[in-house]
């Protein structure tokens, strides 16, 4: 579904991403983990069109993404839930969700999509009229994830969704992701803290200093003591 | 705290220029006005550049000081030099009193509050003719006496030059002092500053007081130098004018406001034929600075120098 081939991103003299290739197959949950500064955000921004890159290519549904304007990518089925939530604080939960559906071609789906979100995160239904800015950090994160899903995407990229969330909420998100996978949503999970990824991902790419150091299933990676110690223990 | 040699050179030049303009009263006058504006700009920079608040009521405080000065001189028959500190402190206290409610605000809301106070005071100047002679203004203001001789000609410009240099020097001292550090912390992130033990409200009041002193002293010298004042001399456009010097030259630096005032203050006089376009040009400059050069001339220059490293 998404192919990144030999991607290189430079900021001035600084090599942020170096010849990274990764492939996300339809219906899978693929994770990218690595510390701060490893290059994960650069890759996410490049996919979203907010960063240019120096070489390589990004293909979505076999089309070169460079041919699509960033604002049109969501229309093609690519949704990104950004790091740091990115909500409209003075709008209610429901209004934020509706904003996420802005690009929907078929507005008839709106109710179905809202309900899907309310099932995944019951607290959103409870607080649908509450101003997003007045919710706690973790609750805002749930709204942000729901907003990303409102455009009925084919591929949804989550940039650090578990940041600041209580363990039980991380579990809920994990459950939500598994449930979405059953509904044929493809997920690209980008995280620093690997606890969520080891539970739900089909494959994990480990990024460090701009390069892919490991790529394997969670089970195999957890059996590798070096990887376990440096990247996975939480 | 090293003072670079080019600053000493600048100070020397500033102090010597009045002597060069000795015989050309037109140039001398422009010089005098410019020095006043350098002094005012240095003061406004302390609140705008260091603390991050937009003081639109600056000119109104100058006005309070100017009118108070003339009142004290007329009613109490004291000399300019005695009336100056009294009028200055009076205006500064009134300024702080009026500004106090707004000092807990910041950003846009402070600016709005400041604008309201400025406009109200301008109206007060117009509608209390008993003290201010209303819109007619007060003319034939006599210059200060020194050893029983009125100060005139280039001597007055020398005094204004000294005033400007003192103003720059004082703002320099503040910038490098612990007080200045607190101001900058408040501007950068006032919540963080408070959580590190900085009393944000009191420091804002102090900054406001210092800036009011600058506004007030400037106002007193302005009145006696020009010889004529009216409510229009101290309206919001005057505040914005000085703000423009600070923003154009480079806020939050010491040299910036000086450069801004030196470059822009003489313009209305040198380009008298373009008088009608003066406000348009000011407006264009404000837009240009906000969009293209938020750091002002000197700020942009410093950033360029740093990027070369």
């Amino acid at each position: 579904m998404l192919e990144i081939n030999d991607l290189t991103i430079r900021y001035g003299n600084f090599l942020a991403v170096s010849h990274v290739s990764l492939s996300i197959q339809k219906g899978n949950i693929i994770a990218l983990i690595g510390p701060n500064g490893a290059g994960k955000s650069s890759i996410v921004r490049a996919i979203g069109g907010l960063n240019s890159f120096d070489s390589g290519e990004i293909l979505f549904l076999n089309e070169n993404l460079l041919e699509t304007e960033p604002c049109e990518r969501i229309g093609k089925g690519l949704s990104i839930v950004p790091e740091g939530r990115g909500l409209f604080p003075r709008m209610s939960v429901e209004e934020n969700l509706l904003m996420g559906a802005y690009s929907l071609q078929n507005k008839g789906q709106l109710d179905a999509l809202l309900n899907r979100n309310f099932e995944l995160f019951p607290i959103l239904k409870e607080r649908r009229q509450q101003l997003a800015g007045t919710m706690s950090g973790g609750q805002q994160q749930m709204v942000a994830i729901a907003v990303g899903l409102m455009s009925d995407p084919k591929l949804c990229i989550f940039d650090e969704p578990s940041l600041g969330l209580a363990p039980i909420v991380i579990e809920q998100i994990g459950d939500a992701l598994m449930s979405l996978k059953k509904q044929e949503l493809t997920v690209f999970l980008v995280e620093q803290n690997a606890s969520l990824t080891t539970k739900v991902a089909d494959q994990i790419y480990v990024l460090s200093a701009g390069e892919v150091k490991y790529h394997d299933t969670p089970a195999n990676l957890m059996n590798n003591p070096e990887v376990l110690e440096t990247f996975l223990s939480a | 705290m090293k003072i670079k040699s080019q600053y000493w050179l600048l100070i020397l030049v500033l102090l010597l220029l009045p002597f060069l303009a000795k015989d050309n009263r037109f140039l001398g006058f422009i010089l005098g006005i410019t020095y006043l504006n350098v002094f005012w700009a240095s003061g406004m920079n302390i609140l705008y550049g260091f603390v991050g608040l937009m003081p639109l009521m600056f000119a109104a405080i100058s006005g309070i000081a100017a009118y108070a000065l003339l009142y004290f001189i007329a009613e109490w028959h004291i000399s300019f030099w005695f009336a100056l500190p009294i009028a200055t402190l009076f205006a500064a206290f009134v300024g702080v009193l009026l500004g106090l409610p707004s000092l807990r605000l910041k950003g846009f809301y402070f600016t709005l509050c400041s604008l309201i106070i400025q406009s109200t005071l301008t109206l007060a100047f117009i509608f209390f003719p008993k003290f201010t002679n209303g819109d007619t203004g007060i003319n034939q203001i006599s210059p200060p006496l020194w050893m029983n001789e009125p100060i005139k000609g280039y001597v007055f410009e020398v005094i204004l030059a000294i005033l400007a240099v003192l103003g720059i020097g004082f703002s320099f001292l503040i910038y490098h002092s612990k007080l200045g550090q607190r101001f900058i912390a408040i501007k950068e992130d006032d919540v963080l500053a408070e959580s590190l033990g900085v009393n944000v409200v009191i420091n804002r009041v102090i900054a406001f007081f210092i800036v009011s002193i600058y506004a007030a002293i400037g106002g007193c010298f302005y009145a006696t130098y020009i010889g004529f004042i009216s409510p229009r001399s101290f309206d919001v456009l005057s505040s914005l004018n000085i703000w423009l010097f600070v923003a154009f030259g480079g806020k939050a630096t010491i040299a910036g406001p000086v450069i801004g005032a030196l470059l822009l203050a003489p313009l209305p006089f040198l380009l008298q034929s373009l008088e009608a376009y003066k406000d348009i040009l000011s407006g264009i400059l404000i837009i240009l600075i906000t969009l293209l050069m938020p750091g002002g001339i000197y700020g942009t220059y410093l950033a360029w120098v740093n990027s070369k490293k």
């Binding site: 940041l163 600041g164 909420v169 690997a194 | 550090q181 992130d189 590190l196």
Partner: protein, 243 residues
Amino acid sequence: MNNPTSQLLLNVKDLTIRFGGLYALNKINFQMNSHESLGMIGPNGSGKSTFVNVLTGHFTPLSGEMFFANQTMLGQSSHKLVEMGLCRTYQAVRVFGNLTVQRNIDISSLLLQDAGISKDQYELYLDWLNLKPVLNKLAKDITLFEQRKLELMMRLTLKPKLLMLDEPVGGLATSEVNEMIQLLRELKQYTSIFVIEHTMRVIKELADRVVVLIAGEKIADGPPAEILMNQRVINEYLGSAHA
């Protein structure tokens, strides 16, 4: 802290605050001694950050009392509490981004000035936190982990008696979390710590006692082992993974 004369550091009685119709904190009672390290956990929106904000003077409580080292905290402004020895860090890292690391530290040292830490202590902290290599960089240009360490350095210059840390490992990578836990463990020699966290490993390894907040109420208070087995905590906060 290996201080034999441990004093009552925090004494909170019936602390209550309301936002609109909701009780963000409802009659919270708890105490903390200077030799203890406390943790606080709870679901998102349970009132943890509000608790810190009330204690550090950002919000005025509706009712209740709070004492820091036997001095009342009610009505004291944030900066006054800092003078009394109570410091805090924020959930999202907060430093003066446009200033250098050195300037950031200088600004923190302003409060105590001569009464502050000695030059030796200063150098000790700087080395311990490994901030010397980045002193001249702008605070916004250093890594998140370095920023978090800068936050610690800035608070240490204020000679805090109690440092409240709101999610200190938030956003850190796994290896950095390990390092931070070690740093916080060592931090205990310099000040008492109160840590709000979602990462259970931090709580397990650092806290002597854990306070659990759910929907604005304290529902449990005890050693980590006990808390982590509390059924309500598991149901409403930890989930089955941690059971």
